[in-house]
Each structure stands twice: as structure tokens, then as C-alpha cells.
């Protein structure tokens, strides 16, 4: 098992290196010159060629591509991801300041999604019949609503019409209530499709487990249905939920781009979009590497979990 994890981690690092290389060269083929943008104050003015050339030198963009690449690699090995073109400061603290914001969105959504999803799944499985059909139908519907439509409608109805919550923006942790209030709507927008998936998985897992022989055996031993359900059936089904959380977290990370846009929430995606717009290569590289690292880690964790749950998978 340890050897397996080590091997996966090693391939993970290799993958990260490939991603880094790819993104480094790909972003440089995007049309548009960062030096010209900077020299003209964000693209509106007209910069003199001297000014552009000076900034290009300053950013090191006048060097040959391979030299830039080697320089970047040398920095990355030392944990230095370069200096942002836009802000003129180190990339790492800029990204690290945004990372918690996006993680909070995702974690909040997972928390809401799992709680609501599991509850609905249990209700559907235990009640069966009409309730089950209704939950299933609602679930299919919830999965089909694009997250940006949901976000827009939530902002309009809950924030503007009902005025229950803020319509966007950001408040730091120094005002915890304000901070949480900001998080509620974007988290719900992310959580709705997710909870639908969790509910479906929970329900089918429960139904399937309940038909297993050992459950019937347990019942026949006279254990109360409630105790059989709570202690055996539910626990057995939750492993499937855990796996789906791992798989869906990655997708949700992608969806934050839309939610952060609608709520003007200062997360990683907003940083990335702005950085692409400004051709701020170091930030784009930094965010892409971070995101890739995150995805690779999740994949490893999911695979390892699989291995723990199902020894047959380990041999692969």
C-alpha cells in the first residue's frame, strides 16, 4: 500500500511537471503582449515602443524562450513562482490570499451538499414510493440547472427582492457573521446540483445494501429495523458517497469560475480570469499549477480510497 501511494505520488510530481511545462508554453502563444498592456496602463492608452521595450526587459520577456523557461523552473524548484506582472509582487502570497476564499466556497458547498443530499437520500430510500419518485425527479432537475442560472436567480430573489443576504462582494473573517452571510448564496448555488448527486447515490446505495443477504440476516436475528439501518446499512452506503465527493470536488472547483463571476467573489477563478485578461503569465502559471496539483491529489486520494475499500483495485 505504501509503495503504491509512493508510486502514485511520484507520477503525480511528474504530471505536475508536464502541466507546468505545457502551461508555460501555451500561455505564451496567447495573442497579446503583456509589456504593451502594462506600458499603456491596462490597454486603454497608447504606449511608446521605448516604454514597451523597457518593460519587456524588466519582466525578462526579452530573453529567449528556453532561458525564460529554465529560469522559471529553477525558481519553482526553490518555491519561487515569480513576480506578478500586474501587481509587481510575488505570485505565491497573491495566490495564497485567494486560495482560502475558493476553498471556503467549495467546502461550504460540500458541507451543505452532503448534509442535504444524504438526508434526502435516506428519506427517499426509507419512504420509497411517491417520496422516492419526487426526490429522484427533483434530483434530476437540480443536476440540470446550470450553476450560473441558479446563481443569478438566487442573487436576484434572495438578495435583491427579499434582501435577506448580500448580493455579492467580500467581507473578511474579522466580521465572522458578515463573512458567512457572503458565503451562503454562492455555496448554495454550488451545492444544489451536488446535493442532487449525493441524494441519488445515497438512495441507490441504501436500496442496494438493504437487499443484501447480511442485512436480511441481521433483521432475522431480531435487530430493530432502525438499528440495522443506522449501524449497518447507512454506514455501508456512505463509502460510495465519500467517493463521489472526491470525484465531484474537482468539478465543483471548475464551477467556482461561474459563481465567483456572478457574485464578484474574490476567489482564485476571478484572479485567473483577470490574469488571463492582463496576460499576467506568472499568475496564470501559478494558479494552473495549483489547480492541477489539487486535481492530481484528489485523483490519488480517490484511487487510494478505492484501494482501501476494494483490495482488488490495488493490483492495477
Amino acid at each position: 500500500m505504501v509503495a503504491y501511494i509512493a508510486r502514485r505520488l511520484a507520477t503525480g510530481v511528474g504530471l505536475l511537471f508536464l502541466v507546468l511545462t505545457l502551461i508555460f508554453f501555451v500561455i505564451r502563444t496567447v495573442p497579446g503582449d503583456p509589456a504593451a498592456l502594462l506600458a499603456s496602463g491596462g490597454g486603454s492608452g497608447e504606449a511608446s515602443p521605448e516604454a514597451i521595450e523597457r518593460i519587456r526587459e524588466q519582466l525578462g520577456l526579452d530573453q529567449p524562450l528556453w532561458a525564460q523557461y529554465l529560469g522559471y523552473l529553477a525558481g519553482v524548484v526553490r518555491g519561487d513562482f515569480g513576480v506578478s506582472f500586474q501587481f509587481g509582487t510575488d505570485v505565491t502570497p497573491i495566490i495564497m490570499a485567494r486560495l482560502p476564499n475558493t476553498l471556503q466556497l467549495v467546502l461550504g458547498a460540500v458541507l451543505i451538499g452532503v448534509t442535504v443530499g444524504v438526508l434526502l437520500g435516506i428519506i427517499a430510500a426509507r419512504r420509497g414510493g411517491v417520496v422516492s419518485t419526487v426526490v429522484t425527479a427533483m434530483g434530476s432537475f437540480a443536476i440540470s440547472v446550470p450553476v450560473y442560472v441558479l446563481a443569478t436567480v438566487l442573487a436576484y430573489v434572495v438578495a435583491l427582492q427579499l434582501r435577506w443576504l448580500p448580493a455579492g462582494g467580500f467581507v473578511g473573517w474579522e466580521d465572522p457573521v458578515g463573512h458567512l452571510r457572503i458565503l451562503v448564496l454562492p455555496c448554495i448555488a454550488l451545492a444544489v446540483p451536488f446535493s442532487a448527486i449525493v441524494a441519488t447515490i445515497t438512495r441507490s446505495g441504501l436500496v442496494e445494501t438493504a437487499q443484501q443477504d447480511w442485512v436480511r440476516t441481521a433483521r432475522s436475528w431480531g435487530l430493530s429495523p432502525g438499528s440495522v439501518f443506522g449501524r449497518h446499512v447507512l454506514r455501508n452506503s456512505l463509502t460510495a458517497v465519500l467517493t463521489i465527493v472526491g470525484l465531484e470536488i474537482g468539478l465543483m472547483f471548475g464551477s467556482t469560475i461561474l459563481v465567483e463571476q456572478v457574485f464578484s467573489y474574490p476567489g482564485l477563478s476571478q484572479l485567473l480570469i483577470k490574469a488571463v485578461e492582463q496576460r499576467d503569465y506568472p499568475i496564470v502559471q501559478g494558479v494552473a499549477i495549483l489547480a492541477a496539483g489539487f486535481f492530481i491529489m484528489i485523483n490519488i486520494v480517490v484511487d487510494v480510497l478505492y484501494g482501501v475499500l476494494d483490495p482488488r483495485a490495488r493490483r492495477r
Partner: protein, 524 residues
């Protein structure tokens, strides 16, 4: 009580016409909307202003055009000799007084004992150094057109300063009053430096990258009495809808760049004031080096083929003024009936011109535009619709702004949507519209006669000579159609009605309106 600007009917038209005109003349009449702003702060009301901004201001650079957010930061943490006050009137800032000796000589007297926010004295030497820096084309300053006309600067003591120009520029003060022409400390006077210390009314207290910036009053500011706010909180809402929502839900007190679609909604919301002015232009510029648009007749046909009202309603939600000529404002002494209506909406004439140009069946071309700014893209779509009617079939080439900039400067386009605002409101702004390689000129376009006429219009000694030269320039424009302006868009700010002292500046100056931010007051 503020009254919002009427945006419908006859009154709008007159106001807007006036707004685009000469600065001094307009000042008096636009004041009426927001007069009596000399409010004393209510002791019980906390003087903290929360602003929902359209983006994060970039680190401040010397003299660069860093957009409306940059102008705002310029005016908050730094200060020039002059600035634009209510109505767009030029008023003294670091300079206590100034005199236009003649059209090529200007003298300034600084206020006594000026200091930068770190306590360093600010003297006439700092001003001289800053102006010389701005005048150097290598430094890419926004005001370089005006500043590079400086021949010499002589200082007399710490507070006296005389600027001599190489040639006449009756509007030199407009460059001095530009927010980007703020005075910089000696050790920060470099194109690579980020300006952190200025002589402005506020200093940056705290900033969270990507989220917000807090500013507090600068204790060393020369006129602390004019500052009533104890704190300004800038919060970033890049999404237009989110920004409007933030004001409507009460999260912020003030927002910039109100989307035209939200004007009516904000205007009809009790407790919210919308102040909009027709300012920036949107139009078409061409690649005049090759293809059908190299032919002036084709460009003229385009000018006749587009229904400006259609553009205005489709791309600007009706919140723009249709433009069929050169924007000078009807109060401008140089505006004539001809200059305002060089063209009209006349598809039949457009077809005749195309016939004459050798394109009786029209042609196919592409139009470059930006996907980031809906008004750019929507303008392109509206233009596409109108030009299809005369046989010019356009395909949209829409990417993000850097792609647009790259293709625009490299001439990789046939026709493109171009937004823009004059640096100053005087007609010499047209030099950046029609001079070869200027910011807003069509790619490859150059006409020495037009250049000569525009320069003469600025430098001639008498008003008559100037008017005559400008008339000549407009005639050349009518023949050449170097670019096609379509609409003058409203730039709107919206705020709670408890905010006192804000006034959107008229015409091109609208983007400088956040100059007033430091001096606002909040009432109960």
C-alpha cells in the same frame, strides 16, 4: 436633495450638447443640478464612504493613463497643480493661483509650505522635474501631447513657476489639470517606480489584494478642512450586475460604471441617485492600408449606411447620443452645423457611394471587436445588421482586449469598433483622432493637410483664424472619413441620496469625476 439627470426628452438633448462643449461655458449651467454642496458633516453620521468599484486599481505609475480607476487613485493619493472642479471648471489645487500670460506662457504660484504625505516639502523644483518627465515621450505619459510642447520651465523660489511653450496651446491648463499630471517626489520619479507617496487628500491605510482598499485622510494635506470623510473603503465588484446589486442591497454607498441597462431601474429606486453624462465615444476605425476600406468612398458609404439610433438602442440600451459628425458641443466656438452633421442615415446614398467606389454588389469583410465589453460587441452586431442592408457583409472577429490591442496595433483587421474619450474637451483632442499613429486614428491613415489644419486651429493667434483652420479640417474629414463616430455613451455613477457633493463632470471629463470622491460628505 439631489436630482438625477433627466435622461429623456428635450432637456437631455440640450444638456448633453452643452456637456460636450467648452469647459468654462458649461460649468455654469451644469452646476444647477448639484448646487449647494457646501455641506457641513452631520456629527452623528459616521463619515465612512464605501465604494463599489468596477475593478482593482493598478499600482500607481507616474503619468500613465491607468483608466478611470487610475484617475481616481491619482486624485485620492496625489495632486496636481490644478484639477477639475464642479462643472468641469479648472480650479487651483497645489497651485494657489495661475495665470495664462499668453497662449504660450503660463505661470503658477504654489501654496505655501506644501508637503508630500511623508513630510518631504513639495517645491516648484518638484513640479519642474515632474513636468519634464511627463514631456519625455519615452515615459509614455498620458499628457505627453500637451507636456511635450513645453519649451522651458523657470522656477523662482520655492513657489513660483513659469512654463514657456514651443508653440501656442490655449488649452495647456487642461493638461496640467489632468489627474495623471500629479506631482511626484524626486525618488519616485521613474517610469518603473510605483508611486506610494503623494500630496493628495488621502493615504492608503490597508489593502487586501483583489478585495478592497481602505484610505484615510492625509494629515499633511494642504486643505484638511475640505475633507469630511474619515475613511474611504474601496471594494471591488468587477461584474456589472453584482455591482448594481451591491448598491441596491445597500452593501455599498456608491458605484461607478453603471451599466446602461440599469439606469432606469436605479433612477426609479427611492434613496438612490443616478448621475449620468454623455462622455466617451464609440465608433469605427479602419485599416486604411489595404482592402476596400482603403478607399475613402467606401468609408463614407459606411458613415451613411449606419442608423445611429439603432446602434444606440441596441448597444447602449438607448443611453447614448447618436453622432453624425464631429463632437465639439454646440457651445464650442468652433462647432458649426456642418461639423455636427457631416453625414446622415441614408442607405441609398451609401449604395451610390459603393457603386462609385467600384463595389456595386458590396463585399465581405470582418469587423474586429472585444468580447469583454458588451457595448463594443453589441455595436459591432448592430453595425453588421445595417451594413448588410447595403451589401457589406461583416463577420465578427471577437476576442478579449489584449487580442484586440494586438490586432489593432498590428493592423490585423479591416474595420474595428473603437471606444475612446478625448484627453481634453478642447478641439485639439481631435489631434489624437486624426494624426498618424495617434491613439484613436485609423490604422495607416495620414493626411498632412488635415494635420496642418488641426495644428493651425490650435496655434493661430486669433479666434477667427482658428475657426477658419478648423473649418478647413472638418472639410477634409468629410472627404476622407478617416473614422466613423457612432454614439456618445452615457457614463453613469450611482449612489445613495445621503451622499453629498458628487457631480458627474460633463463630456469627456466624466471619467475624471471621481476626483470629487475625497471631498464628499455623508448626511443622515
Amino acid at each position: 436633495m439631489h436630482t438625477s439627470v433627466p435622461l429623456a426628452g428635450q432637456s437631455r438633448r440640450s444638456r448633453i450638447r452643452a456637456a460636450a462643449g467648452g469647459v468654462l461655458l458649461v460649468g455654469a449651467m451644469t452646476l444647477t443640478a448639484c448646487a449647494a454642496t457646501e455641506a457641513t458633516p452631520d456629527a452623528d453620521v459616521p463619515q465612512v464612504l464605501t465604494v463599489g468599484l468596477s475593478g482593482e486599481p493598478q499600482p500607481l505609475k507616474v503619468g500613465l493613463n491607468q483608466n478611470a480607476l487610475g484617475y481616481m487613485m491619482d486624485a485620492l493619493v496625489a495632486q496636481g497643480l490644478l484639477r477639475y472642479g464642479p462643472g468641469g471648471e479648472i480650479e487651483p489645487a497645489l497651485a494657489e493661483s495661475y495665470e495664462q500670460v499668453d497662449n504660450a506662457t503660463y505661470s503658477f504660484t504654489l501654496r505655501p509650505d506644501l508637503q508630500f504625505s511623508d513630510g518631504t516639502p513639495l517645491t516648484s523644483e518638484d513640479v519642474k522635474r515632474t513636468f519634464e518627465f511627463l514631456a519625455d515621450p519615452a515615459n509614455a505619459a498620458y499628457t505627453v501631447a500637451g507636456m511635450s510642447r513645453i519649451d522651458s520651465i523657470t522656477t523662482d523660489g520655492d513657489s513660483q513657476l513659469t512654463v514657456k511653450l514651443k508653440e501656442n496651446d490655449p488649452d495647456f491648463l487642461s493638461y496640467v489639470a489632468n489627474p495623471t499630471a500629479f506631482i511626484v517626489k524626486e525618488d519616485e520619479l521613474s517610469a518603473d517606480a510605483t508611486v506610494t507617496i503623494g500630496a493628495g487628500p488621502f493615504v492608503i491605510d490597508e489593502q487586501v489584494q483583489g478585495v478592497s482598499m481602505d484610505l484615510v485622510p492625509n494629515e499633511l494635506y494642504y486643505d484638511p478642512e475640505s475633507v469630511n470623510l474619515s475613511k474611504i473603503e474601496l471594494e471591488y465588484y468587477p461584474d456589472t450586475t453584482a455591482r448594481t446589486n451591491a448598491l441596491l442591497s445597500g452593501d455599498v454607498d456608491f458605484i461607478d460604471f453603471v451599466p446602461a441597462q440599469d439606469f432606469d431601474r436605479l433612477e426609479s429606486t427611492p434613496g438612490i441617485v443616478l448621475d449620468a453624462q454623455a462622455g466617451p465615444l464609440i465608433g469605427l476605425t479602419f485599416n486604411t492600408t489595404s482592402g476596400p476600406f482603403a478607399n475613402p468612398l467606401v468609408r463614407e458609404a459606411v458613415a451613411y449606411a449606419i442608423d445611429r439610433d439603432h446602434v444606440v438602442s441596441a448597444a447602449d440600451a438607448g443611453k447614448a447620443e447618436p453622432i453624425y459628425g464631429i463632437v465639439l458641443g454646440e457651445d464650442s466656438p468652433f462647432a458649426t452645423e456642418d461639423s455636427e452633421s457631416l453625414y446622415s442615415y441614408d442607405p441609398k446614398k451609401a449604395k451610390e457611394l459603393l457603386d462609385e467606389a467600384g463595389y456595386p454588389d458590396g463585399f465581405d469583410a470582418s469587423i474586429l471587436t472585444m468580447s469583454q465589453y458588451p457595448y463594443h460587441q453589441d455595436t459591432a452586431v448592430a453595425v453588421q445588421g445595417d451594413l448588410a442592408a447595403v451589401g457589406i457583409n461583416l463577420t465578427l472577429d471577437s476576442g478579449d482586449q489584449p487580442t484586440w490591442v494586438k490586432k489593432a496595433t498590428g493592423g490585423e483587421f479591416e474595420v474595428k469598433t473603437t471606444g475612446g474619450s478625448g484627453l481634453i474637451t478642447a478641439p485639439s483632442y481631435l489631434e489624437s483622432w486624426y494624426f498618424a499613429n495617434a491613439s484613436y486614428t485609423s490604422f495607416g491613415y495620414d493626411n498632412p493637410d488635415l494635420r496642418a489644419a488641426l495644428v493651425e486651429g490650435r496655434t493661430a493667434e486669433t479666434e477667427e483664424e482658428r475657426a477658419e483652420a478648423y473649418d478647413r479640417a472638418f472639410e477634409i474629414v468629410a472627404v476622407d472619413t478617416p473614422r466613423v463616430d457612432l454614439a456618445q455613451r452615457y457614463n453613469g455613477y450611482a449612489f445613495k441620496d445621503t451622499i453629498e457633493g458628487f457631480e458627474n463632470l460633463p463630456g469627456f471629463l466624466s471619467y475624471y469625476s471621481l476626483n470629487a470622491l475625497p471631498y464628499l460628505t455623508i448626511s443622515g
